[in-house]
């Protein structure tokens, strides 16, 4: 999927500790053309980027590549690749990879053709007579990638805004509905409790079962309503100074029963040098509980491991990520910290991460999930100006959820190391 599903950019993570590499699909017929592109891109060792040019002389290969797990940064498309379909090929590619930069390469330098190609989704137009022009190809590649990245940032920001607004109005409706519905529910609960006491006196053999079913159903409805109230309450963010590590330990304790019952192992890897920060302790616990619960539920079978870690985001990682840079600016933080939960479940597949955060989105059976867990997480994280990233992992497969927070400069560093927890449970 890589480049094709960037909403909430689940898979857009910076490569850590390596020279950035730009992978180019070179969709040209002739091998020599591909070589000359590679030469053009390798025009000097002065660039920190390293180009990997992959020759794909026919359209099917490109399609296959785009549908694979590998992610690519840019396509150089020869209009003759699939002649005479030329620009149609471009349109098809665009549909396949809506967000991947495509540079069109053409034998002829024709203005009308260039305009046509750009109109159909090309990011740049490169006629053959220019490709030997020093640095031009590289410049084009950089420009289109950068432009796409900015678009992506904008789009994600918009998505988040829309998401926040939706949650907000839903929250208000939920609060109203929940409040109105609670009284009648409570009345029915009382009634069922009373009626159930009559079971021994009633002759009908089904009466007892009917009472049980009704009681279970009404209790379930009450739970959902309570969940909605939790979700909709936007008041009490009680910000205090505290240690994220302590919250992690406490949350694991709270869930000890479920963890043991599912024979799940929890590994804690908490950074002892994590600075204290300001947050709502109760809400932060809620985040952890919801995430850990999801992981336990995702792993089903026993003997699997959940890794919970906290760490300080390294300056290099931050440099490499426009998201993290923006987060630092937005929160006025010199330091960014992260909370990570990594499980060994099936991950989220091709599911768009944004969908999971929708209230009431669930893939669980009725009675097992209401689909509010992650929307609550999202809401709390955004109240704390944080950032969530989901990523499917391999070996072993699983979901990695990272939440980043800024640490405003005023906060002092945390209690001495002996109170820190670095333990394996």
């Amino acid at each position: 999927m890589g480049n094709t599903a960037p909403i909430f950019a689940a898979s857009m993570e910076c490569v850590e500790g390596r020279v950035p590499q730009i992978t180019v699909i070179c969709a040209v017929k002739a091998e020599e053309d591909c070589h000359s592109f590679q030469e053009q891109l390798d025009f000097g060792d002065s660039l920190p980027e390293h180009f990997r040019v992959i020759h794909m002389p026919d359209f099917e290969m490109v399609v296959e590549a785009l549908n694979s797990e590998t992610s690519y940064d840019v396509i150089l498309l020869d209009l003759l690749l699939d002649a005479p379909e030329g620009v149609d090929t471009l349109e098809n590619l665009r549909k396949l990879a809506p967000y991947l930069p495509i540079i069109v390469f053409s034998e002829v330098n024709d203005m009308d053709l260039a305009i046509d190609a750009l109109g159909r989704g090309a990011d740049d137009f490169l006629p053959r007579e220019y490709i030997d022009y020093p640095q031009l190809v590289a410049r084009s590649v950089f420009t289109v990638i950068e432009r796409r990245k900015q678009d992506l940032d904008k789009r994600v920001l918009q998505d988040q805004l829309i998401q926040a607004e939706k949650l907000d109005s839903l929250g208000r409706i939920a609060a109203g509905v929940a409040h109105e519905v609670k009284n009648p529910l409570a009345t029915v609960q009382m009634a069922m409790a009373y009626i159930s006491t009559l079971v021994p006196d009633v002759e009908d053999p089904q009466f007892g079962e009917a009472c049980e079913l009704a009681t279970t159903a009404i209790n379930r409805a009450s739970e959902i309503i309570s969940g909605m109230v939790d979700f909709s309450r936007n008041d009490c963010v009680a910000i205090k100074n505290g240690s994220l590590n302590d919250v992690v330990v406490k949350s694991v304790d709270l869930l000890r029963y479920e963890i043991n019952k599912n024979k799940t192992t929890v590994h804690l890897n908490l950074d002892p040098s994590l600075p204290a920060s300001e947050f709502d302790i109760g809400k932060m616990e809620q985040i952890l509980i919801n995430l850990i619960r999801n992981s336990i539920q995702a792993m089903q079978s026993c003997d699997k491991v959940i890794h919970l870690s906290t760490f300080v985001v390294s300056p290099e990682k931050r440099e490499n990520s426009p998201w993290l840079q923006e987060l630092a600016v937005k929160t006025g933080s010199a330091t960014l910290i992260a909370l990570e939960i990594r499980d060994e479940g099936p991950g989220i597949g091709d599911q768009k991460p944004a969908a999971l955060f929708e209230p009431f989105f669930t893939t669980k059976r009725i009675g097992e999930g209401t689909g509010l867990g992650l929307s609550v997480v999202m809401q709390i994280v955004s109240r704390h100006n944080g950032l969530i990233r989901l990523k499917n992992m391999k070996n072993p497969s699983g979901l990695r959820t990272r939440i980043y927070f800024g640490v405003p400069p005023v906060t002092t560093t945390l209690s001495p190391p002996e109170t820190q927890t670095l333990m394996k449970t």
Binding site: H179, K182, N183, P184, L185, A186, T187, Q189, M190, A191, M192, A193, Y194, T197, N219, S222, E223, I225, S226, G227, V229, D230, L254
Partner: protein, 128 residues
């Protein structure tokens, strides 16, 4: 043993009535209710209950206001009060499903009725 008397102050008549039926079904209580919070003090004086179940969210006087009036009265002040409210959910009450606000205990309205009953017993016994 003499039955304990309980007064429910709740604007939701059907909830109040159902709670009365439920609790009286237990055999240990005489239950009455008042649905107009303005009349709460008056009714409490005339019934002189052993315990009050007080709704928090009500029009006109809310539960807090009613409690304040009780506290201004030397006799009513000593009657134990349990808040029953739709504002707290079970989750908030994380530790043991009871939220303490000052000396007053709040029970979520949607708690299982047996839990409400348990709270009433405990309150009457003076253990919470």
């Amino acid at each position: 043993m003499k039955k304990k008397s309980i007064l429910i102050i709740d604007d939701e008549a059907s909830f109040a009535r159902m709670t009365k039926i439920f609790l009286e079904g237990k055999g240990d209580y005489d239950v009455s209710y008042e649905t107009e919070s303005m009349k709460a003090v008056e009714t409490t004086r005339s019934t002189n209950p052993d315990l009050i179940l007080l709704d928090l969210v009500m029009p006109e006087l809310d539960g807090g206001d009613v409690l304040a009036r009780f506290n201004d009265d030397p006799v009513l002040k000593s009657i134990p009060v349990l808040f029953v409210t739709s504002m707290v959910s079970q989750d908030d009450t994380s530790d043991d499903s009871l939220v303490q606000s000052g000396d007053n205990i709040m029970i979520p309205k949607t708690s299982p009725p047996e839990f409400v009953h348990q709270c009433i017993q405990d309150k009457l016994a003076g253990v919470i």
